[in-house]
Symmetry: C2
């Protein structure tokens, strides 16, 4: 038997057929309907699931379960997306039911960052212990996995570690607050820090003037090239990131924190600083357990793998 994992994103809906826990034997994606309405979105997911099922060599009935990772605050128990900022869903959407009824299959859902965290752990055989996966992308996604299971917190909207405030009242965050971890440590946050701190004549300044914008890779490339302006910006970013990671470790004290997202392509520039920062600043320091900060390695497939494993072992 196989399972289907769906990763619902703002631009694409990605789906895969998964067996033996982490083997994606076929995957594809479709564009997310830009109306973003619950009706259009569910119709598109159903279309994608049907395509995937029809691709099963042994026929569509060989699928035993569909798992979906959705942005927003998810009631995993009842299969309802309570609220999704990205999709503009301000009322509960019965996502599991909307797929389960037409597909006549059980459907499990969770937050997309939770699914990515679960997929990352399973793909790396981290099925014993507690791991936190932080994705540094447009926002800061977070999930916590204990013994191969998602810790959902108590109510939908928990595990939003990106919205811990590390500099209360300072930089505006998309959530409406100021000073959130996400507002500094997402890729967007890094770029914002760079644009605010351009020094005329620097490599960073010239790159910005030439392209009219910056991205994470331009910044880390300039750090490698020895540009002082880029280095100062990146040091500031790493300090903010280390601060957030220290807070997270003081709350959960996991075995490890795995960092994903485009910025972490340059994890070699981050590794020593972040591990030293956490070791030197965690409550109790070397007298306590110091979690290791590592690079997440599974990339975009993590969401599909995690979603396919929402109901436990395959």
């Amino acid at each position: 038997m196989y399972r289907i994992g769906i990763d619902l994103g703002g631009t694409f809906i990605k789906g895969g057929i998964v067996r033996n826990k982490t083997d994606i034997i076929y995957k594809t994606k479709i564009e997310t309907p830009q109306s973003h309405t619950p009706g259009d979105t569910c119709e598109a997911i159903n279309e994608l699931v049907t395509m995937l099922r029809n691709n099963l060599a042994t026929g569509p009935d060989e699928c035993e379960l569909i798992g979906i990772g959705s942005p927003g605050s998810v009631d995993a128990g009842d299969g309802i997306v309570m609220y999704s900022n990205n999709f503009g869903w301000e009322r509960p959407v019965k996502l599991a039911e909307a797929i389960s009824i037409p597909q006549n299959l059980p459907v499990k859902i969770s937050n997309d960052a939770n699914c990515a965290a679960l997929g990352e752990c399973l793909a790396n055989n981290l099925d014993k212990g507690t791991y936190i996966v932080i994705t540094l992308g447009t926002g800061v996604g977070s999930g916590i996995i204990t013994d191969g299971r998602i810790y959902e917190g108590a109510h939908p909207g928990a595990i939003e570690m990106g919205h811990m405030m590390i500099r209360y009242g300072k930089r505006k965050c998309t959530c409406g607050m100021r000073g959130c971890f996400e507002s500094y440590c997402s890729a967007t946050g890094l770029i914002k820090t760079a644009v605010k701190n351009l020094k005329k004549g620097s490599g960073l300044y010239n790159a910005y003037k030439e392209k009219g914008q910056l991205d994470g890779k331009m910044i880390t490339d300039l750090v490698r090239a020895g540009d002082n302006n880029a280095k100062k910006v990146f040091d500031r970013y790493l300090t903010d990131l280390g601060t957030g990671l220290t807070c997270i470790c003081n709350v959960f004290r996991p075995d490890a924190v795995l960092l994903g997202g485009g910025v972490c392509e340059s994890f070699d520039l981050m590794d020593d600083f972040l591990n030293d920062f956490v070791r030197n600043n965690i409550f109790g320091r070397e007298n306590g357990f110091v979690p290791v900060i590592k690079k997440a390695t599974t990339g975009n497939d993590a969401g599909i793998i995690g979603a396919a494993n929402l109901a436990g072992d395959l």
Copy 2:
């Protein structure tokens, strides 16, 4: 059968005989040996336990278990205090064993704030759901209870919510970092904010000049008396407290947060502000589940009750 709960503090070791989960039928306390060495401390705990057992009407063998709440980073599974800042224990202390062997009884241990949180929940029949208990005292203690059980996090030193940084790099904290929730929102933090913001001629200023110091009650009494300086200080305190509570709710999204400690004698001055602050600033706002902020009611007995219940239901 009865259990003994011990609350190990820097000044006193409190102990009680507990039955039917939350009934303390006898309690007493002894002074904590000021050497604070592991040997002296364990000897004093043993002495207190023996006193308590000798007070059991049906004889010392009617005790089935001893529970101990200890300051510091506790390995609850192995019964070891890994590190205690307050006691200057920088190496692991096998606390459970040091009591279990002479008493010939099973001993369970946990962090003191965890025990207080568990006791608070059990005493209020909050044995379904997830509750966070925050104690605003010399420091900021925290515990999280789900369905009547302590959530210990992954490794000793977790659930140190007082050491989430809300204003990175700002006020020095006892943990060595700057800007921790505890450095602003402990009773000590409130007093520090007051002393730093005295306005000559105000009631607060005059009170400080007269007594040479301030305490939490002096500040809240002046808020009630309409002193503007005290009010501004307390508003700033409540904003910091609301910030930390919002971070905690974004991470765990519990059913409720219960606030204890001396400052909360004036919870009537805090209630509306804190609940409004969390409702207006939590991720997703009114579209998500908004935890309620309430006053903890069990006071000093919570630690004893929680410790006596470390191994589950009585």
